[in-house]
């Protein structure tokens, strides 16, 4: 069972995380660690993935993203030959600016393929955007923390119920709390 690093670059748009993590889960591969951040209007994700991963399928799934994969086992070779693919950006206009309201989403539970995909899917349905994300796998414990912005008109209570239902279905604990302003 190999370990691969997947990097994802692209114009930020709703659904990026959901699609990438969904495409990975679909192949039966497992996200060990991941980090995602926004640089300007660009989304940058790095994921450490275990299991068999066909990079072509990822690229087919998300044609507007630049996706590279590197087999980490290869890095131990004296002359590593990382497999990498590059595609030009498909320039699309980022979603209309809506600062929205900040929340922090915490998910923890037993490691289950598809947690990120399920949770980010619920958020995407409510036009929520993930602006930062970290996931950690420590022993049997899977932890995902995400900074989320949702439009001001979204029914937060209903969204929380949907998240809780998804969490219950995955055996994971989910909390969704308003972000505390960092500048006091």
């Amino acid at each position: 069972m190999g370990l691969s690093a997947v990097t994802v670059l692209g114009i930020d748009r709703p659904g990026v995380i959901s699609e990438v993590s969904g495409a990975i889960a679909e192949q039966g591969a497992n996200i060990q660690d991941s980090t995602m951040t926004l640089l300007g209007d660009y989304v940058v994700m790095t994921l450490l993935v275990s299991g068999t991963l066909a990079a072509e399928k990822l690229r087919d799934h998300c044609p507007d993203l630049v996706i590279t994969t590197v087999e980490m086992d290869g890095l131990r070779d004296p002359a590593p030959s990382p497999r990498a693919w590059f595609r030009p950006f498909a320039r699309t206009s980022p979603g209309e600016a809506d600062d929205g309201v900040g929340f922090v989403l915490s998910v923890h539970g037993a490691d289950r393929p598809g947690i990120i995909s399920a949770v980010s899917g619920v958020l995407a349905c409510e036009r929520g955007t993930i602006t930062g994300m970290n996931s950690r796998l420590s022993g049997d414990l899977y932890v995902l923390i995400a900074d989320v912005r949702i439009p001001g008109d979204v029914d937060v209570a209903a969204l929380m119920r949907r998240l809780a239902a998804v969490g219950a279905g995955l055996g994971a604990e989910i909390t969704f709390r308003p972000a505390v302003p960092e500048l006091l």
Binding site: M36, V104, S106, H108, G109, A110, G132, M133, N134, R136, S138, G139, D140, L141, Y142, V143, I145, A146, D147, G171, A172, E173, T175, R177, A179, V180, E182
Partner: protein, 189 residues
């Protein structure tokens, strides 16, 4: 420490048995614990077991009943060895504890015995008042404390509500791998 503080454990407290600490994910770690009768012999025994579990390793600063497999509102702390400690009650066991006042919030990094390998930055009050009962005689106790003892108590109180520090991450960037798991400065609360 305030002058009004009573002894932490009843003079007749039995010697306890150190118990295994549960790792997350575990249902007891995400479930609200139930109030208990401080005079119930099983609670007195559990209090002694908590203390014994706490004493088992130098890096243990606090432990709650759910972490040793009991869904009861009972916690034990001893932060006397921690460098960020100011006020310090030494070994403290509380039954049915309640946070009654909290002020001066600060963000600092903490870990958890039940979440090995991860730490996070958590915003907690640095001046608090906690009430509770002493195991055995059930005497009501009131503690005013600060700094790291306040942080440790709030962390344990969270355990009684089925809340982990992971539920209090202020941002996605606030969760980290514990870089040096064997470090003596690791803060297990």
């Amino acid at each position: 420490m305030t002058p009004s503080r009573a002894p932490m454990t009843a003079p007749t407290a039995p010697a306890g048995t150190a118990r295994e600490v549960l790792d997350a994910p575990h249902t007891l770690l995400t479930t609200m614990a139930a109030p208990v009768d401080p005079a119930d012999p099983r609670v007195v025994e559990a209090a002694a077991d908590l203390l014994a579990t706490l004493r088992r390793a130098d890096d243990r600063l606090g432990v709650s009943a759910p972490q040793i497999g009991l869904g009861w509102r009972l916690l034990a702390i001893d932060v006397s060895s921690h460098p960020r400690t100011r006020s310090c009650a030494g070994e403290l066991v509380l039954v049915n504890p309640r946070l009654t006042q909290a002020a001066r919030w600060e963000t600092a990094r903490e870990g958890c015995l039940s979440v090995p390998g991860l730490v996070g930055e958590v915003r907690r009050a640095t001046r608090i008042t906690v009430t509770g009962q002493r195991p055995g005689d059930g005497e009501s106790l009131t503690f005013h404390t600060d700094a790291f003892e306040a942080r440790c108590l709030q962390h344990q109180l969270d355990h009684l509500d089925g809340v982990l520090f992971l539920d209090r991450m202020p941002t996605a960037r606030a969760v980290h791998r514990a870089r040096h798991p064997q470090s003596p400065l690791r803060h297990h609360v």
